[in-house]
């Protein structure tokens, strides 16, 4: 999909709506099962929940993110990297306030003529006492010409 560079750069600073997300036991159980790992004790949420919980909690969805950055179809988006910080363990049935924004967008033209947008967003998770529980910074690669 052709998207102008200006249109993409305008996304810098875009704030997600924000919201509250709670991970219930059934969801955590299935998530952990998908990892092939053992179920965790003490209602601990599996650390990999930091992929979808912040996105959904911030009032967005992966589908809405795809619409925001104008990608669709197989091969249009890839993961460049994650930086996930765990300040306190996440627990089941605890409501987390999620707030975040797009922190960087860059159009990259490779030596062999390919074009992609480097898209970076960050979301904080706080508990009801405003204590910072976790922070994610995700780097996506949005292919424009392959």
């Amino acid at each position: 999909m052709i998207v102008s560079e200006e249109e993409m750069l305008d996304l810098r600073g875009y704030k997600f709506p924000g919201g509250v997300r709670t991970v219930e036991h059934w969801e955590n159980w299935l998530l952990t099962d998908c990892t092939t790992g053992q179920q965790l004790p003490d209602n601990l949420v599996h650390p990999i929940a930091l992929f979808h919980v912040p996105i959904q909690g911030s009032g967005c969805s992966i589908s809405e993110l795809f619409s925001l950055v104008r990608v669709q179809g197989a091969g249009s988006v890839g993961l460049d990297g994650y930086d996930w910080e765990y300040f306190h363990p996440l627990k089941e049935d605890v409501p987390y306030l999620c707030e975040g924004e797009v922190i960087d967008v860059q159009r990259v033209k490779t030596d062999n003529g390919k074009i992609y947008d480097r898209f970076v967003f960050s979301i904080d998770l706080l508990n009801e006492s405003d204590l910072l529980i976790a922070r994610v910074t995700n780097h996506w690669r949005l292919w424009r010409k392959r």
Partner: protein, 140 residues
């Protein structure tokens, strides 16, 4: 290894994940509400030259490393995960999560820095760094 500096260079116990299950990718896609068909529609990947295999979700690849770390130092040991995704992993493949202790970040909290990776045979498909808290003594 009561002296944290003696951990530097230590190879973390590896974790092997055999024959990655496409059914788990489908469940994962539903949990994530992920509309990207490469994880659940075999036909979607033919045009990409990947045959009729589906691609494992990046978070699942990283989860194998998280599980490896938690098996070593307990379920609350992970303080930071930095990951870079290098290659896709497909259903039916076998991968191994591994790592090595690089440095001691803070003695007082027993916080160490580890290099982490996920390999498929001799190929590294995911690499990065993890900061974890050491609570269990290694008996070597």
């Amino acid at each position: 290894m009561s002296d944290l500096s003696s951990y530097i260079g230590f190879d973390l116990p590896t974790l092997e994940v055999n024959l990655i299950d496409p059914q788990k990718m489908k469940t994962m896609a539903a949990l994530l509400r992920d509309p990207y068909p490469v994880h659940w529609d075999q036909n979607a990947n033919e045009s990409l030259g990947f045959g009729n295999r589906v691609i494992n979700q990046g978070p699942l690849n990283l989860s194998y490393i998280a599980n490896m770390l938690m098996e070593w130092q307990g379920p609350t040991c992970i303080k930071r995960l930095k990951a870079k995704f290098l290659k896709p992993v497909f259903d039916g493949e076998t991968v191994v999560a591994g790592g090595k202790v690089l440095d001691v970040l803070e003695e007082s909290s027993s916080r160490i820095l580890c290099q982490i990776w996920l390999s498929r045979g001799d190929e590294i498909v995911l690499t990065g760094e993890a900061e974890i808290i050491v609570t269990k003594e290694e008996t070597d």
